[in-house]
């Protein structure tokens, strides 16, 4: 815990096998996927550690068209996020990362096991997303008892009109250096590469 941030050093995740297969180019029309690939997906999913962070920040105001003011002084400028956070009490910042993935993928490539490397890479990508789902599930169950709930959707920087540069804002608010993550100040690229950030809204349950 740092200034209201909850850190998770090992999140339970179950990456959806069908999404991993999709990343690998699998099509349903090809028939059932090879059993060894499915087993490898399970095996790698159990080997990857997923960490994450969560923070709620009060929303203090909005300025049409498309700016949201947060209690910590952050200004979010995006029509998409404005629509998402409209009527919300707070913004929730989320981050998830799979720290060991790059080294494990490189190790598999180095060991002439490129087939395993690509599976591992796809599993890791889905694990990061699944990490965000896990954080929202546990936090959602807890805040529901205070009469609050998350918006159904969440936004990640780089999608819609949410600029990639917004990654830096989330990164800083979540103090993700505490999880060993870093961000490139120019390209806003996250390291380790299997990392994902998002914003969701916290609203009152009527």
């Amino acid at each position: 815990m740092t200034a209201g941030i909850t850190y998770y050093h090992a999140l339970p995740v179950k990456p959806p096998v069908e999404r991993v297969l999709l990343r690998l180019g699998y099509k349903k029309s090809s028939g059932p996927p090879p059993e060894d690939v499915v087993l490898a997906i399970d095996r790698f999913a159990s080997r990857l550690r997923v960490c994450g962070a969560f923070l709620r920040v009060p929303i203090t105001g909005t300025q049409a068209p498309g700016s949201v003011l947060l209690g910590d002084g952050t200004v979010i400028s995006s029509k998409g996020l404005f629509a998402l956070l409209d009527g919300c009490l707070e913004a929730a910042f989320l981050g998830a990362s799979v720290p060991d993935a790059p080294a494990l993928v490189a190790e598999r490539f180095g060991a002439n096991a490129a087939d395993e490397a690509v599976i591992l890479d796809a599993v890791a990508a889905q694990c990061a997303d699944a990490g965000l789902d896990s954080i929202l599930s546990i936090q959602g169950a807890l805040i529901r008892h205070s009469g609050l709930g998350f918006t159904r959707r969440r936004f990640s920087p780089g999608y819609g009109d949410v600029a990639l540069s917004f990654q830096k804002t989330i990164f800083d608010r979540l103090m993700l250096g505490n999880l060993g993550m870093s961000i490139d100040e120019r390209s806003f690229m996250l390291s380790p590469e299997k990392s994902v950030l998002a914003v969701a809204g916290v609203q009152t349950i009527a």
Binding site: Y8, P12, R144
Partner: protein, 789 residues
């Protein structure tokens, strides 16, 4: 009062209160609910009195987030015990002495090992602190609720059992698909928690009463304790940009009656419910008799995600996670590495094992630590229930404590001096156990063994362990040294079966020291099944035992419509897909081992170039086509490339001797400056190599200058550039500009998630590769165009 509570629970419906947080929210609740309630006691007292007036027989303390872990979010962890005591006192003040007060215990907000980072004992300690404070303040029972993770619910339940003697109700939160966040289904949660000693088990929150019906129906046939339901006021709906629970009291009660009819008897409300909902509920269902229990006995093991019933089809316990005679596994265990064990578990699961035996016993290790680690790792990695195989009681307890399910103990000697101590461990952790009918020595006859069995079963029952938790090992001895051994074993199996005790045999012991052991093993299994055998410890990968077991299940009527038999045999009998042979076939199937032999054979009749041009390249083209049509996907593409590289190890040294044709071309590959994503580039590099290109892979985050210098030095035909993000794709433009400035003739090919055909054209690239296969095709086109140009 506490005895009254247990008695009411056994006989009648019991009405709990409804939501606290969603009602206090209307009165201004914000921030930490526990702290807010202490600062605004009149609001809480008023709400709780309204619940009493509505007919609630118990009101819960406002302590759902009262563990030190949860309170740490507000900097209040050191005040946890004090806050819980004060909140419990407030509720008692609100409801008086005639209404029960339940100490409410919820999740820590963290995930407990093996699914998360919170050490199990730390979770237990946090819950024990809270529950101790609630008990001290005089609550009548503990309700563990809103648990999203079975392991966290176990930690809270163990803490309650070790801290106080109050009745404990445990309720999980299931998501819409019927599973908790960590994948537990309702039946598995029920069996695990009731075995561990919960006085009632059920579900709360997340869904409305309608959606809980299926959960209660899944629990009822296995419920030996009352079922708790505390649904929300319907499913949350989005209305006017706000989430709402809008099920009114009448509809709520309509569904609560259905839940009661389905078997639930402890009834309350969760988020969105109000005193109005509870008044309607109490009016309809208070004082009703508890729904009749289903009384068929059953035995079941669980993992966190699966229930394995014992009895009926033969249950196979995979025996291979055992270091005895396995040097690689011994070395891995000594290094604390569990990967090999997970792999063995996966193999046995794929071969049809229902339960995995875990044994880490060997000299020079701390068995308690190692077994605990193995159990944590395997239970997080695999869905099968575990059989904990150790003779060391401290290792057994360490493993049972952290196992997130209902384990099988392998084993407890019936004539052992510490029989009672071990039975108490089984009872405390709700485990099933294998009873070995032996003492200082192994009795030779069935009669002697059965005396020991009967004595041990009597003691177990005195301790409150039902017969269904016991599995008797018939003790299989080698027939090579004791000709009557199998006959005596069969007598034990038959006699135990008549006593309604489950039985298990370690099958392969029978054939020790004899040739063609499979036949003897199979015969023993068949005979034992006929005598009532329930479980077999064996190698699940033994084809004969598997076929025989499936046949026995079918013939004994344990495989309705022969579904499992037909499915297994159809798979075994399925004609193999017509395989292409030789080098071509090995590339197609991605068989890096077989291809070496095929190449060696082919070299007797063809030179290296002919093999490459006549077999490998056409096969790779077919692999590419299969990828394009979706018949193959990325791992298969990579396997084929890997096989080709294995072939090249043999072919390359011979190429010089017969070479009339150069390599198709030289490619310099790089992920551009500022970008660290290189999986796509690595895949392209591997495929290009397998198509014969000379590839210089510069890695990731490579400056333009270095790319251009390398291309110049290597006289590259092609520069291949990769970038993932829109912010880094611009670096491609810089590389192209620098290459042109330097007068390089290399053609430039680009790709990556954020790159499009249009973008490639706009920055002056010569080709765009949408994926690795397309990149190879583009590289070939560029070379051909260069040659013809």
């Amino acid at each position: 009062m506490r005895n009254d509570f247990r008695n009411i629970l056994k006989k009648k419906t019991f009405i709990l209160d409804g939501a606290t947080g969603t009602n206090l929210m209307r009165l201004g609740l914000h921030g930490c609910p526990e702290a807010w309630a202490l600062a605004n006691p009149e609001a809480l007292i008023d709400l709780q009195r309204r619940y009493v007036r509505a007919g609630a027989q118990a009101v819960l303390t406002c302590t759902l987030g009262g563990t030190r872990h949860k309170l740490s979010e507000y900097g209040l962890s050191d005040k946890a015990a004090n806050m819980n005591r004060r909140l419990a006192a407030l509720t008692r003040e609100a409801v008086g002495g005639d209404v029960f007060v339940g100490g409410d215990v919820g999740p820590t907000g963290l995930f407990v090992e093996p699914f998360g980072e919170l050490p199990f004992e730390e979770a237990v300690a946090g819950f024990a602190e809270q529950i101790g404070a609630l008990a001290e303040a005089g609550v009548d029972f503990i309700l563990i609720e809103t648990m999203l993770d079975l392991q966290e619910a176990r930690a809270a339940l163990i803490a309650a059992r070790e801290t106080c003697s109050l009745p404990v109700l445990a309720s999980m939160t299931f998501e819409r698909g019927g599973h908790t966040l960590t994948g537990t289904d309702a039946r598995t949660a029920l069996i695990t928690l009731q075995s561990l000693g919960a006085d009632a088990v059920g579900c709360n929150c997340s869904t409305g009463p309608k959606e809980m019906l299926a959960l209660v129906q899944a629990m009822r046939p296995y419920a030996r304790v009352p079922i708790v339901v505390k649904p929300n006021a319907g499913m949350p709906v989005l209305k006017d940009c706000a989430t709402r629970f809008d099920m009114d009291a009448d509809e709520f009660v309509f569904w609560m009656r259905r839940l009661y009819e389905a078997g639930a008897s402890v009834l309350g409300g969760c988020c969105g419910t109000t005193p109005g909902h509870i008044a309607a509920l109490s009016g309809q269902l208070a004082g009703q008799p508890r729904p009749a229990r289903r009384t068929e006995p059953f035995s079941a093991l669980t993992s966190s995600t699966r229930t394995q019933l014992v009895g009926g089809p033969v249950c196979v316990v995979g025996e291979r996670i055992n270091p005895t005679g396995k040097k690689a596994l011994q070395a891995a265990f000594k290094a604390g590495n569990m990967e090999k064990a997970v792999e063995l578990g996966q193999q046995q699961q794929a071969a049809g094992a229902h339960v995995l035996d875990v044994n880490v016993g060997m000299a020079g290790v701390n068995e308690a630590d190692l077994l605990k680690k193995a159990v944590l790792t395997l239970s997080a990695a695999l869905p099968l229930p575990l059989s904990i195989d150790t003779a060391d009681p401290s290792a057994l307890e360490a493993a049972l404590r952290v196992y997130p399910g209902r384990a099988l103990i392998n084993s407890i000697p019936a004539g052992g001096e510490d029989l009672e101590e071990r039975l108490k461990l089984a009872k405390k952790y709700g485990a099933m156990f294998i009873l070995l009918p032996l003492g200082q020595s192994i009795p030779a006859t069935a009669a002697e063994r059965l005396v020991l069995v009967d004595q041990a079963v009597t003691i177990a029952q005195r301790l409150g362990i039902p017969k269904e938790s016991i599995v008797v090992d018939g003790l299989v001895m080698a027939v090579s040294s004791a000709p009557q051994a199998a006959v005596e074993t069969m007598r034990v199996v038959r006699a135990c079966s008549k006593r309604s005790l489950h039985t298990i045999l370690g099958i392969s012991n029978v054939s020790f020291g004899l040739p063609a052991r499979e036949w003897l093993n199979a015969a023993l299994l068949a005979m034992a099944v006929e005598n009532g055998l329930d479980m077999a410890i064996c190698d699940p990968e033994s084809r004969s035992l598997r076929a025989l077991r499936l046949s026995c299940d079918l013939l004994k009527g344990n495989d309705p419509d022969a579904q499992r038999y037909v499915a297994a045999m159809a798979a075994a009998d399925a004609p193999a897909a017509p395989a292409r042979e030789g080098v071509y076939g090995a590339v197609l199937s991605g068989d890096a081992h077989a291809i070496t032999e095929h190449v060696k054979k082919a070299l007797h009749t063809a030179d290296a170039r002919a093999i490459i041009d006549g077999e490998i390249i056409p096969a790779l083209n077919e692999v590419g086509d299969l990828f394009e049509t979706g018949a193959y996907f990325l791992p298969q593409l990579m396997r084929s490339a890997k096989a080709v590289q294995a072939a090249f190890v043999l072919l390359e040294p011979r190429l010089a001797a017969c070479e009339t044709k150069a390599r198709p071309g030289t490619v310099v590959l790089a992920t551009v400056k500022g970008d660290i994503h290189d999986i796509g580039k690595n895949i392209v590099g591997m495929l290009l190599k397998s198509h014969g290109f000379a590839v210089h892979d510069l890695g990731k985050d490579v400056p333009a200058q270095r790319i251009v210098e390398t291309a110049k030095r290597e006289n590259a035909d092609i520069i291949g550039l990769s970038a993932l993000l829109t912010t880094t794709t611009e670096q491609m433009r810089a590389v192209i500009a620098l290459a042109r400035e330097n007068g390089l003739k290399s053609r430039i090919m680009v790709g990556g998630a954020a790159v499009t055909e249009e973008y490639a054209r706009a920055i002056g690239a010569d080709r765009y590769g949408k994926d690795a296969n397309a990149a190879v095709a583009a590289a070939k086109q560029l070379i051909e165009a260069g040659a013809s140009g």
